[in-house]
């Protein structure tokens, strides 16, 4: 398990670095796909099988495809030179490293979850065993349609808005005189 985690983590990290550091846009997109797949593996490790599937299908399968299409349409060979020792990069890099280290430290010190993996405020009812016994999809679906109904409905509204907006924004305009 740890080994799988390690591999998946390294892949995710490399993919993330690739997104930012690639010179060509298409390479960034492909790196992001690698990242997303690694993330799906991590979800599997965390007993969220349904979400791993959703991640692959929706994110890597639909969103990234869209990205690739747009890149191919607009800027297929676009290159961008990032000056390596730019001040922004330096300062940002230091901040990034600091942030990561800090979070790691906090996580290690057992803020919400202690070393034995126990939640300080007591555990909820949805242990992996219980969920697996009842069924992943069923449990998620029940929660989604009962306790979290409102966010669900709002999200569907949001999707409608996004679709309408996208259609509107990308309609053909008359050339300006």
């Amino acid at each position: 398990m740890t080994i799988i985690f390690g591999l998946a983590a390294v892949l995710a990290f490399l993919g993330a670095a690739g997104v930012v550091a690639s010179r060509r846009t298409i390479y960034s997109a492909l790196s992001l796909v690698v990242n997303l797949v690694a993330l799906a593996v991590l979800f599997l490790l965390l007993d969220a099988q349904f979400l791993a599937a959703v991640q692959i299908i929706v994110y890597a399968g639909a969103v990234m495809v869209l990205f690739v299409f747009i890149i191919a349409l607009l800027a297929p060979g676009a290159e961008e030179v990032v000056r390596p020792l730019e001040l922004r990069l330096l300062v940002g890099g230091i901040a990034a490293a600091g942030f990561t280290v800090m979070v790691g430290r906090l996580a290690l010190n057992g803020i919400t979850v202690n070393a034995a993996g126990q939640f300080h405020g007591g555990l909820g009812p949805f242990s992996p065993q219980a969920v697996n016994a009842h069924g992943q999809v069923q449990t998620l679906g029940e929660q989604l349609f009962t306790t979290y109904l409102l966010p669900f409905e709002v999200t569907s509204l949001l999707l409608l808005v996004a679709a309408v907006g996208a259609v509107y924004l990308s309609r053909h305009r008359r050339a300006a005189p």
Binding site: V91, G92, M102, L106
Partner: protein, 667 residues
């Protein structure tokens, strides 16, 4: 005495000249000529009337009750600080309180009376001057300042009046400010007086900080009556300022005298008086005859309890007084400017007064002040008549023969000269002989002081009659003198009034050499200044009286011999004792000494400071700050690039910093 009535009268006496000044000054010179003519002298004469009524009111009291303090307004009454047993309340009190007693009434009468006559005179003298309004504004201010000085019951307001007088004198001496000489003279007078102010203020501070009550507690009082009750003779007398003759009292006396010396033009602060003749003649009459220069005499007389406790300081006062008197009399013998002669004469006569009050003969000194005010103002105004008639000619070598052309002025000037010289039955004789008799008593076995005084008198008679002969007798030595005619009524009337006064005022007090049939004046002043010093034996006194009078007449005769009949050559001294002549002609070179030792180094230091400090140091400091701010601003401006991603970076970095800080505290 009815306090309310007194308060009202004091308010009138102080308020009228103040109102005159304010109305005149705030109207920015736009008042019509006639209004100023009525307003300027009018307010002073009104103040004189109030003073006379106050005198009458004072006289209705028995001698022991002649003294009242009225509070014109309550100013500072602080009730913080340690509780003060003797005063019965804690804290610091300073009100604008005025003291009406014989000494202050005397000063008020002279200031407003003779001042009023001089104001009337000025109407004629300054009639064609374009700054007529400004003149009367400043004159009224001067009267106000002097009244504040002499009426104050309070150290603080005394100092206020003192400084106001200094400023008013500067404004009047430098009245014709387009003339550089006048401006320089005004500045010199003011700076010299500021030096004296330092002494006065330091003395006041020492009194305030050290005066102790009968229980040994610090009184922290600025009230004059309280101070004198705890220092001077009286029912509650004790050594409030340390042992008699001790260092503290002596220091206070000397510091106070420094202030008095500056005002009264005594050595070493005397150099401003001759230069002050740059001002108009009425100004010379007011400031240098009647009022400002006598402020020093008043100060010593008023503070006599302190001087009585400090014999060393009083001795210094007397010595400086008689020394200045002699020096000024010598200088006056060789001057050619008529106003300068009279100026040195003032310095000399004030020296005699200072000597008297330093020696403890307060009544004698104040009587001399009174008579001197009359005849010195007379002399200045009569000289003004002459100058005006000769179209601003002031050199006596260009005059002559005016006795036939200006008969009344000649008569008045003659009366003044007789009074000044101390000729019997004129005012000066009585006051000077009284002075000299004190000198006779207070001197050691050989009467040095009396001899010095008599020498001064001889020289005085000589120099003033030299002027009389040069100006009025003989033949005119210039065209202007030949064409002179008598002065107008506004200029003649005050002169004549003063002449009458100079003739009769002496009879108010006949008290010398054991002969005192009339002592109105000295008994009037008794409640304030105490009795006269003891007298010596009648035989010596008679001899001294006779000798003194004869010697004064001898001085007149000498002047007549040299300048009237030309029996003795006028160049006698200058040929046989040239060094003496040069010393006298150049004022003993004090001006030159001060110039080299004080003025020039100060000027050089000021120039150096201007170049080095202001020019280089401050410029580089300020310039450096300016450049530094500039650089900082330029550096900071680079942060505003306009790219949103830079701003996003800023957000991110600050958020991370916040998280790190929080995280370090949590874990």
């Amino acid at each position: 005495m009815n306090p309310t009535f007194t308060l009202v009268l004091c308010g009138v006496a102080l308020g009228l000249p103040t109102a005159g000044f304010l109305i005149n000054a705030l109207s920015a010179g736009r008042l019509p000529h006639r209004v100023v003519t009525l307003l300027g002298p009018g307010v002073v004469l009104g103040a004189f009337a109030a003073s006379v009524i106050l005198l009458v009111e004072l006289l209705t009291q028995p001698p022991s009750g002649r003294g009242i303090t009225v509070i014109l307004w309550h100013w500072l009454n602080l009730s913080v600080g340690p509780a003060n047993g003797a005063l019965g309340r804690a804290g610091f009190n300073a009100n604008f309180s005025l003291r009406i007693d014989p000494l202050s009434i005397l000063m008020m009468l002279v200031i407003t009376g003779i001042g009023g006559l001089i104001h009337v005179y000025s109407v004629g003298y300054m009639a064609e001057d374009p700054s007529y309004n400004r003149f009367f504004a400043y004159m009224n201010l001067f009267i106000t300042s002097m009244l504040v000085l002499v009426m104050s019951e309070n150290l603080i307001f005394l100092i206020v009046g003192w400084s106001m007088v200094a400023f008013a004198s500067y404004a009047l001496i430098a009245f014709w400010y387009q003339r550089p000489a006048a401006v320089a003279a005004g500045r010199k007078a003011f700076i010299t007086q500021v030096i004296g102010d330092v002494g006065l203020v330091l003395g006041a501070f020492l009194i305030f900080l050290n005066l102790r009550g009968s229980g040994g507690q610090l009184l922290r009082s600025v009230d004059l009556q309280t101070i004198f009750a705890n220092v001077g003779p009286g029912p509650h007398f004790h050594n409030g300022l340390g042992p008699s003759g001790g260092g503290l009292v002596t220091a206070i006396g000397l510091l106070l005298f420094l202030g008095a010396a500056a005002k009264s033009a005594q050595w070493p602060l005397h150099t401003w008086l001759p230069d002050a003749m740059e001002g108009p003649t009425p100004v010379s009459a007011l400031i240098h005859a009647a009022t400002m220069v006598t402020a020093g005499v008043y100060l010593v007389a008023r503070f006599h309890p302190i001087f009585q406790q400090a014999p060393v300081a009083a001795g210094v006062v007397a010595a400086v007084g008689i020394g200045t008197a002699l020096m000024a009399a010598i200088i006056g013998c060789t001057q050619f400017d008529i106003k300068r002669v009279i100026a040195y004469s003032t310095m000399s006569q004030i020296g005699l007064m200072i000597f008297a009050v330093g020696a403890g003969a307060y009544a004698a000194g104040m009587f001399q002040f009174f008579t001197h005010a009359c005849f010195k103002a007379l002399l200045f105004l009569a000289a003004g008549n002459v100058i005006h008639a000769l179209h601003d000619e002031q050199d006596i070598r260009s005059m002559g023969g005016l006795s036939t052309r200006m008969k009344l002025t000649f008569g008045a000037f003659l009366v003044g000269s007789l009074a000044l010289a101390g000729i019997p039955l004129f005012a000066g004789w009585f006051s000077k002989e009284e002075l000299l008799s004190s000198g006779l008593v207070l001197g050691p076995a050989v009467p040095w002081l009396w001899l010095l005084g008599v020498s001064v008198n001889v020289l005085t008679s000589f120099y003033i009659f030299r002027v009389v002969w040069a100006v009025f007798r003989g033949e005119p030595t210039s065209e202007r003198a030949a064409g002179a005619h008598e002065a107008g009524p506004t200029m003649l009337a005050p002169v004549l009034v003063l002449a009458v006064l100079s003739a009769v005022v002496g009879f108010l007090n006949i008290d010398f050499f054991g002969f005192h049939p009339i002592t109105l004046f000295s008994t009037f002043l008794d409640p304030v200044v105490g009795g006269s010093p003891a007298q010596s034996s009648p035989g010596i006194q008679a001899v001294a009286l006779l000798a003194g009078t004869l010697l004064s007449l001898g001085g007149v005769a000498l002047a007549w011999a040299v300048y009237g009949r030309r029996l003795v050559s006028a160049q006698l001294i200058s040929r046989h004792l040239p060094w003496l002549y040069q010393l006298s002609l150049n004022g003993f070179y004090w001006d030159e000494l001060y110039g080299t030792v004080l003025v020039r180094p100060t000027g050089a230091a000021a120039a150096m400071v201007r170049v080095v400090f202001e020019g280089e140091l401050f410029e580089s400091l300020v310039g450096g700050v300016r450049a530094g701010v500039r650089t900082l601003a330029d550096d900071l401006r680079t942060m505003q690039t306009g790219y949103f991603r830079d701003y996003a970076l800023l957000f991110f970095v600050c958020a991370v910093i916040g998280l790190v800080v929080l995280g370090l505290r949590l874990a």
